[in-house]
Symmetry: T
Subunit: 140 residues, 12 copies
């Protein structure tokens, strides 16, 4: 089994961007740590600011035995096209958010994706990704 | 005269994707058949999952003598930018949908594009494309 | 197989009524032409300004082997009762509109009928009816 | 005392129409049974698919000593004119529905008539009519 | 010149119906009085409870030199089809209401017809009709 | 078979409370009368002002062979938790209201419970309870 | 009896202002003509661009035997304070509009004043004022 | 450190209730398993169908060093009072849901609590609780 | 310390205006009484029907040591400009209403001012003013 | 005469809870002070976090000669049942709030209770309770 | 050519009022500076807190060769009457705002005026006025 | 200091596209002119039809000392992702529009970006860009 983490727009700026909301850690650094902590799991990582490239990637791995962890960033709230891609593929998709989107602006409290994802983990900082991995590999 | 069919996001998965909604036929296969059935018409085909590439393509052919048949997929419901491209070009654009979008989720029942398209054909499965061709070339 | 075209309120005025929107051709004249163009198909035509008479007609032919092409005019946007009739009968109903209702007043952009029709063809002038016939008899 | 049952559009199709929602019994058959079960009560029955004819009938008996049981079908949700007729007449009107309209489509959950009816009985299949009769004649 | 007064649903009950709102005078009685007061004007009168018959009548006189005074009753608030008929014909239509609809229920405060009528007169009891006649024939 | 009547908040005040809306009869008095009128049926009665206690009671009898008649009072319009309880149990629940809630304040016209109840009886005063019993035991 | 005509903001520009909507006649000129046409009636005229001055004037004459004809211009759609003044005084107020406000921008289709006025006359150009006078003095 | 799991209304029915949505396992059974899997952690469990008792419990432990995992069931969508309790106390509260509330009824897609919780875990069946525990004790 | 009471539009009509809502006492009479009852406090009074004059007055005293009691009448529900004046000045402003605005028309239930006032007192008739004075001078 | 103060959910935490909003004083301490300041008045105090217990208490004293001061906390915004209890009893109920609810979250700006309370006092901190007492006993 | 700057309500308080939003400079001081910086341009300045006086001023200069720069303050969001004045006059009007109204309260994000102004400049502090002057005189 | 102008979708068609709205000048031509007019300023220009590429560019220069002038075209109204990019970077972003978006379609009147931009300049044709440059370099 293999886990693909997909990060959407502006998540490449983690550590530099609005640190009071998103924390000060760079994602790739965090990703390395994850690989160390879960030595038995194969991880892939993909980031793009382009909506359609996220769809390309979902389609590319969506018919293999990947499990997908998706933080679609700002596209979470506006993309019917990504929603359709998630519904179209066979691989399960878990939605994660670093910040608690439900305590932020009105437009950020509605996800177009949640309804077709397997589950949602939101508000635990970067730890949201680890919890999604736990959801997939069920250590206990 | 030349007809360009543009398919938007996830329509490259036709035949694999939610077959109860979209049917089991692959689009390229269907496209070959169309070319056979309309031997006197020149056809082009373009598919992209990227909103901006669809705009690029609309602009590219939009000032020539093409007629455009557009299924913008999920961007139908969210893209002011594609709407603006359709309004900006000179070539007429016909909107098609495979499924009956008006019998699906609330957010899928509103098209941002219809208002600037020449007409809309919706709900006839892949046959929606043939009807759009008929609209263009008026066999009778 | 037999095709019944049902026209709703004010469509008996075609050719006289707001010609910039609906064109200058009388419907019956157009209907004669259709019969000439499709000599192998049996056509019936019915027009009424009365909502309930449209329901009566839908019920009358709805359990035979007719295919129905319906332009419900102004009732499109207000009639739950016609919607219920379409859902109640067995014959498939295709919704057509002469003008592009999606580029007109807000209240005209929502059809109560589309959700229970087989498909929708809209915006091609009187040619919308021919396209609906093509949808039924599939000449290619 | 006399009880008039008025059925609105498409209720003449009971037994043929969407049986999973409306059941398999014909209304006239059911009506005969009611007459047998309530031998001391005089019953009349009227059905029309035309909104204005329902108004005509309400006016016709509305100033006599009838009690009216009304299932206005699809007009329930759209007819200010029937509402006005109910408010205009002196005879009490009881609203009934076969299906539970509150568990169906959003637009079907709002009745324009309930506010001016004496009471509402909804969701008991054809038995809703019997309960309305009980409401009128109070067997206990 | 000829003036046609069209009354919609339940206005045949004037004098009997909710007298606190609509007054105690019968319309036909009032109509006779109007004819006496305007001896130089030709008047016609039509009343129907059926939406489509009102459309039929509008179409019938709408291309002659009639001026039409319309009180569409409950259809005022729900009928796109009557609106379309008014827009379709050439004769000007004046909208009148007996009661002040703007001080009544929310759903009664919106007229679908006003936007295509020449003008609106509302709230003066039966005198609203006389004012509409004054608007047509301009006694001063 | 046994019938449990559950009354929600403030229904213990019947006979004292807003008599123009709810009438002047005490509920327990009425309940005694019901037992006399239906001697072959076993009745239980429960009243609580506490939302969660109503849920407790629904759960307690909801997996036995009871039929439940519920007037949830003010919780009708606000309680997702009672709705969930009704959906969770096996016993059918009939919703009743003494007053016609559809002719009262806007917020009182929407029931969160109706969608998961077997049926709704509303507006007949205390007689609404008798009609619900008739719905259960079908005397004819 | 005396009739006071009150004109609100920008109505002093009549004849200069958006002539396609409001016509080319100056109001004072028109007012002189009215006085000639109704020699037996006493007229007063007041115009102000200031909401509170319109209220002052309504209060000043509102407890005498005036009849008031009010075109509140832009304040029609925003002024609870003028509405309150109309409700507070004893003199009847008739609302008039030159243009058909119901065929213009959405925000202009709702009058805050109509609900407390005696009646509304709208869309007849300057002739709306004459009709209001007819409503007051009932020439026939 | 001690973890308190609070379950709201109808969650005592897990295993019996709508198994297609909530699964077939009893919560207490699952809770025992959790205690075995996390032997180093102290767990408490509380369930109530009464909104105010959940508030009582939150207040009782909210100023100690507990971490609270809360599934408020139906109160999630309606309780400002529980929201206020979470905001009032010092202990962090994690919101969990068994089903994916974002793919269910519209009213169930909005949580009043999320905005004041530390984070949300939703849609993983009973495993949602384990993930919340992982969020608290960070096994890696 | 000095207390300024500002009354907005139509409050100069107290005692004459809709007595069932606003009572029969003249405000100036009441004001004299207040001065007698609070002999140690300096009072000023200002009334205007003009929105901008209320702003002028708020600005004039708003940087001195006045405490302001404001009943903005109809401007309460429509004036962003008065709201801005309250926010701009340093003196605290207390909002009062004579009637209970929350039990009246929908548009009267929302105050644009409350959010920037120190507090709101509403529904106690003229006594609302005395309570506001108590709020300022804290007799106990 | 006797005054009962009822506090709803989380108001037992005053002094501990969000002190920037609710202040640092414990309510019971404040209550003792009130009793000292108003030695001639009999006071009772009741607090509960349970909606239905607040209803029980309102009913218990609501037909005696109590005057009730109610701060329903979070139930203010969601409880039709408490609203109904207030409307059902004879004793007048005064609504108070410590914070200015109109300057907080959108959902907190609407009270379901105000419409049936005698009056509202809001935003004066704990002093809101003293002002309510003044409203009842009218010291001047 | 002459430029008239009109400032609406509370803008006379600039420099004293909410300095975090509006800055610390007095407008007249700033205006003197503008005159120095644009020595070849004739400037006029007008400020009023009264909506109708702003309309008076717009009318007064609106048919001369002035260009008008308008900051209507709080009336921006509520005044149909000022909108009508702008549409009525011939002189072009440029809308300016000191703060970025689109990042503030919801009600402040909608301008009723923008639709009839030549353009909008917003968010640059007092420099917004200079940019508007640049828009008029086009220094490059 | 360096100024980067970013143009979004369809702005590469300026001069060809809907000239009544956007004018007849090509942007690159206009850009050359700007460089001539501001010889002391360094300018860069970027155009893309792809939402994510605009984000890429914003990120690329957003942590340098650029000032960014952004016309996001159709993405203005739909892109949370571009909004997030603007908020994430350090460089200030000025929003410009050629047409007056507030006088166009409803959906075009709301910008998702304005709230995080430094300011907005809208409606001055291509001159909007020059005004933005003036805002940055403050020639006076």
């Amino acid at each position: 089994m293999s886990i693909l983490i997909i990060n959407g727009p502006n998540l490449n700026l983690l550590g530099r961007r609005e640190q009071n909301i998103y924390g000060s850690q760079d994602f790739l650094e965090y990703f390395e740590q994850l690989k160390v902590n879960y030595p038995d799991t194969k991880f892939d990582y993909y980031q793009s600011n382009i909506e359609g490239e996220i769809i390309d990637k979902l389609q590319e791995v969506g018919f293999s035995d990947h499990q997908i962890i998706l933080n679609a960033g700002g596209y979470t709230h506006t993309s019917v096209a990504i929603r359709d891609a998630i519904a179209a593929i066979e691989a399960p998709v878990l939605e994660v958010h670093i910040s608690n989107i439900y305590s932020r602006e009105e437009f950020r409290q509605k996800s177009l994706l949640s309804g077709v994802c397997k589950g949602v983990i939101c508000g635990f900082g970067l730890d949201s990704y680890r919890l999604a991995i736990e959801a997939v590999i069920k250590t206990r």
